[in-house]
Amino acid sequence: MLFNSFPFLLAFLPVVAVAYFALPHHRLRLVLVVGASYYFYAYAEWWFPALMAGSTAISYTTGRLLERSPRKAVLAAGIVGCLGLLAYFKYAAFAGGYALDFVHVVTGRSLPHFRTVLNGIVLPIGISFYTFEGISYMVDVYRGTLRAERDLLRYAFFISFFPHLIAGPIVRYGILQPQLTVKHRFDADRVRSGLLLFTLGLAKKVLLADGIAAYVDRYLSSPGELGFVTAWSAAVGFGFQIYFDFSAYSDMALGLARIFGIELPWNFDRPYRSASPTEFWRRWHVTLSTWLRDYLYIPLGGNRKGEARRNLNLFLTMALGGLWHGAALNFAAWGTYHGVLLAGTHEARERGLRLPRPLAVAVTFVLVVLGWVLFRMRTVDGIGSLYAGMFGLHGFGGGIPGHLLLYIVISFALVFGLPEEWRWPVERWRVVWVAAAAVLFAVAVSSVYTAHPFIYFRF
């Protein structure tokens, strides 16, 4: 079920929210939300909840075992269990496809039956997110920074809570656990604040991200025909599209959770204001970048084993982070590219190379946009064609994409003129602003009929 869909907006959310506050007992509320979240997940495919239940059972049981006996083998078994599901559903077709190609080259046998089986694997939405949440929980229990949860209901709530289930933010149990032990009384101000944040996210998604997507998709469908201006406009447009799309989802998730009395961690903080790739990753998909830092980069040795090892760790961490986004080489290339940028930033800093902040912001923005080409274009031909256009190899003509440029100007104004939406003081908004938000919400709801699915749903 999509946040930007009528079934969610007109039925699921009102029914679950009203029922939640109507129930007198805290545990009944937890049962309600877990049940509703499983229904929310089953709306995509009936068997998805079974998979989530399996992943939940593995990490919950591992946590309990680690509490009694914090052995590496137990942790490894739990991680392998969770990652095994992810590996099968997300990476089997990718790795198996290459393996079959290799077999075909060596033996001449194409093995179509195996290929059919691989191609038939359906990627369950959200699996990348709840797998990472389960792993972080098990590792934290193993490290002793978190006590294992004994209450399966609370743990199931943590994994399945529908606002963050499909596309994050990636929540750590340490953040959620204290919030699940208390009953959240109905607080009109908090509910209103959550609704207003949800409204801002929904409007950002359906009015901005989807508006930009209409033009970007059209231009990028034939990248070989794009001149210099159009190619850059399309690439920059995609940069804003994916930012508004994903940050809108995060805003909506934060707003929805707040309605139920739960505060989730923020995920974005105007990343295009960053003056370096390092700063970019402190502002972009922060719950993923901190997850990668704490559970991958630091265990690999981080920066404790010299510059060369640090750089290698950065490449590895970011390449795996890229692959987390999708089982395709372009995502690995995108991740590695960012690994190179991060290593380059460290090297430049150590050599005392500094740019004035406005120039550094501009350079970082351009570097990030160049990276989005790898992310967006799935084929070598497409990537090459778009880069060729951006470097003027298709000429400098081809017209001015007026509507897209207008969207880009508005996007720049929003990004540099206003703080990230979750920072807006919506809880203090007066009547006029609340009324304006209601109008915005009505317009946004009426726009969901033609809305695109969220980009990060695929991951």
Binding site: F6, L195, A437, A438, F441, A442, S446, Y449
Partner: protein, 345 residues
């Protein structure tokens, strides 16, 4: 609390107002308007296509139940010129297929027994032919009424003040009463048959032409025959299920292929991309109908019915003259089985 109530109340009020406005204007004809048909029956008027919109299913059921129907025709848009006496209804509509016919049979009462003329199209058995939605669920209607694109078009429509004040108007169209909004280029009789604007006023609505076979199956006849590789088994099954229902209800069913103009029949029979499937369809249908004790009348050759090329304005749909010949031919087929088709009139 007051601000929360304000937010929710204002949102609901705005969406409600927009939905009510969209319902009134209904720019894409997705809202079923039974009162139009009531008014048309009272005033003996035709109803313009724009007031039926895409609600063919509701319209045809309304036709069936408001007439003492004892015989009816079902099929695609190519049977829509067929009409008969006061107890005959035309329940065909554009975008129907075996599934819709099955559903229609299931939804109609078993008694009184009916005589059914069932026009079966070859292209129905092309799996690429998809059936458009002609029976919207309540959820789809709500979605439509709340959509911003509906509202935008409704605002444009509302600039015509007539539509804003009245959902439809009554006009005199060359002596023929028509209930419409903007135009009467296609209208419906209350027996379910269709009237083209050029049949009433050829000066205002020129008779359409075209439809010649260019060899491009993607564009010819809306692409219905493109990529046709075999008879779709699920559609055949659906048709069989419909026949089984008719058999269990002791209805009389005459299957027939809507007539083709001579040149097009030649194309269907000889084009290497179509001939095999086309002949398989014509071969299967008589067997299928016979299996359930029904008759298949081979009316595919328009020339044998006495129809000429001019009777097919777009080389696809037959006109009223040819359709009358078709009805007579089907009546003869029933008579041959010693059936009484008084219902057709």
């Amino acid at each position: 609390m007051r601000r929360l109530v304000l937010f929710l109340a204002l949102t609901i009020a705005l969406l409600g107002a927009a939905a009510a406005f969209d319902w009134w204007i209904d720019p894409f004809g997705q809202v079923w308007k039974p009162d139009v048909l009531t008014a048309a029956r009272e005033q003996h008027c035709l109803v313009s296509e724009e007031l039926i919109g895409s609600r063919y299913w509701s319209f045809k059921r309304d036709v069936f139940f408001h007439r003492p129907t004892r015989a009816f025709v079902v099929g695609s848009s190519r049977v829509l010129k067929m009409s008969g006496g006061p107890r005959f209804s035309n329940l065909g509509y554009p975008g129907s297929g075996p599934e819709t016919i099955l559903r229609l049979f299931e939804s109609l009462p078993a008694k009184p027994t009916q005589t059914v003329l069932l026009g079966v199209e070859g292209f129905w058995f092309n799996s690429r032919y998809t059936l458009p939605a002609t029976d919207l669920s309540a959820y789809k209607v709500i979605e439509y009424l709340l959509a911003r694109s509906t509202f935008t078009h409704a605002v444009n429509f509302a600039q015509n003040s007539t539509v804003l004040r009245h959902r439809w108007r009554k006009v005199d169209f060359h002596g023929q009463c028509v209930l419409e909004r903007f135009n009467e280029s296609i209208t419906w009789r209350l027996d379910g048959s269709r009237v083209w604007g050029w049949e009433i006023d050829p000066a205002k609505y020129p008779k359409f032409h075209g439809g010649a076979f260019t060899g491009n199956l993607e564009t010819w006849r809306n692409g219905y025959f493109a990529d046709w590789t075999s008879l779709d088994a699920s559609r055949v099954r659906a048709l069989e299920q419909a026949l089984r229902i008719a058999q269990s209800r002791h209805w009389t069913v005459i299957g027939f292929p809507p007539p083709e103009p001579p040149h097009m029949l030649h194309v269907l029979e000889t084009d290497p991309r179509l001939a095999q499937q086309w002949n398989a369809y014509l071969h299967l249908m008589p067997q299928l109908f016979r299996r359930y004790g029904f008759t298949w009348a081979n009316t595919v050759d328009g020339a044998k019915l006495g129809c000429v090329r001019a009777d097919f304005p777009d080389l696809f749909h037959s006109d009223a003259r040819c359709s009358r010949r078709l009805v007579h031919r089907l009546q003869a087929a029933i008579d041959n089985r010693r059936e009484n088709l008084r219902e057709i009139g």
